[in-house]
Symmetry: C2
Subunit: 240 residues, 2 copies
């Protein structure tokens, strides 16, 4: 049985303007690979209602899971929760369970649960809350869509709580070999190897270092003995 598939949607103007370098997609990619869920696509859109809803609908329809980050804070540009509700045709309002979490948090820190902060308790009907051990305001899962915060520390904590709840498949095994040869010298052999090991993914990632050409060759697959066999052939061809 193939592994579950997933997509990620990163929401926020700050990524697309180049102001902030996204780290959530890279973090999630690594965690999903370990968990046996195949991340097939990632998208980044700005804080634009039409763009968010269109992407959510397309990605939730196309993959087993959709993970989003960003846009669930208290300010006017935080429109993700409302967009998700609209994308799935769900009603949304301040929900009592989420309100209580926020109330307890702000009571403890001596801050006011004002109207802006209360927006973070807006949760679509039918959604399950995702715990936020860092700053309390919860994420949520609606159908196959997991909605999480953009702040990396919070995002990572939410993913850590969420992933054990999701069925994974075979974690993808990978081995790599770093060679100081130009890609063009090894391409014919790799092409032949890939054709003979169709169950594996064989990638070649070139680099230049101090003027020398090299490449990292990465062999990925679910079955360890097959990865080993391909790596042995590769090492032999490289004269190792």
């Amino acid at each position: 049985m193939p592994n579950p598939s997933a997509a990620m949607l990163v929401i926020g103007d700050e990524i697309l303007s180049g102001r902030t370098r996204d780290s959530n997609m890279h973090f999630l990619a690594g965690e999903l690979t370990k968990h046996g869920i195949d991340l097939k696509e990632a998208r980044m859109v700005s804080d634009d209602k039409v763009a968010i809803i269109a992407a959510v609908q397309e990605l939730a329809e196309g993959y087993d899971h959709l993970f989003t980050s960003g846009g669930i804070g208290p300010t006017h540009d935080d429109i993700t929760a409302d967009c998700i509700a609209e994308a799935f045709g769900a009603a949304i309002d301040v929900r009592e369970d989420a309100r209580q979490i926020l109330q307890a948090h702000y009571a403890q820190s001596g801050q006011e649960l004002n109207a802006a902060r209360l927006r973070m308790a807006r949760i679509p009907d039918g959604a399950i809350l995702i715990d936020n051990p860092v700053s309390s305001a919860p994420g949520f899962t609606l159908q196959n869509c997991h909605v999480m915060a953009g702040v990396p520390l919070v995002f990572q904590a939410m993913v850590a709580g969420l992933l054990p709840e999701l069925s994974g498949g075979e974690p993808l095994l990978s081995q790599s070999l770093r060679v100081l040869r130009g890609e063009g010298d090894i391409a014919a052999f790799l092409s032949d190897l890939a054709a003979r090991y169709e169950d594996l993914s064989i990638g070649c990632y070139p680099f230049q270092q101090n003027g020398a050409y090299g490449a990292n060759i990465v062999v990925r697959g679910a079955e360890g003995s097959r990865v080993d066999a391909a790596m042995r052939e590769l090492a032999k061809e490289m004269g190792l």
Copy 2:
């Protein structure tokens, strides 16, 4: 007149597996912002023909420009050029101008221009070459789609050569203020400010540092006097 719009497509298994953290999208985002081209969307897909072609068609249709990175090397997993040709219905083969560039490069470095390397001279009919001052193998522009290498040094060099050829708009100006207050405390003011300055984009990006809550407030717009006016109101509200 609004600025030209753009999308980026990052192609490659290594990004989605979490093995490599993409840097090309972040670099391009910053360069486009300076050049007055608005990056509206970014996507990352794996080395999968169907996924690449679908994304190229959708993004080239939806935006003024599409920039791609990755998948134009000599190995079997480098399928971008052929996918672009198919997406636009163009014929593709080894092109003489590209072949001559590679031949000169490999003659100089004493390497063989073998069949694998010759694949890098496969250029769709009607495309204009993009210069690669780092490792010679060219990128290309086909219609509104700019196809570049995935290796960051090469990608950056190609962007540097390409951007001056493209008409830009007003570079987006931005100013930011870092405040040590919770987002929820300033959200109501920011919402009102955003409503009164509809021509500006006002973003609020929270952080936590040593247990304290803070936020970077970023005001962006094409007109300097408007950005200044909003920033003055903001500074006054924050007691500065």
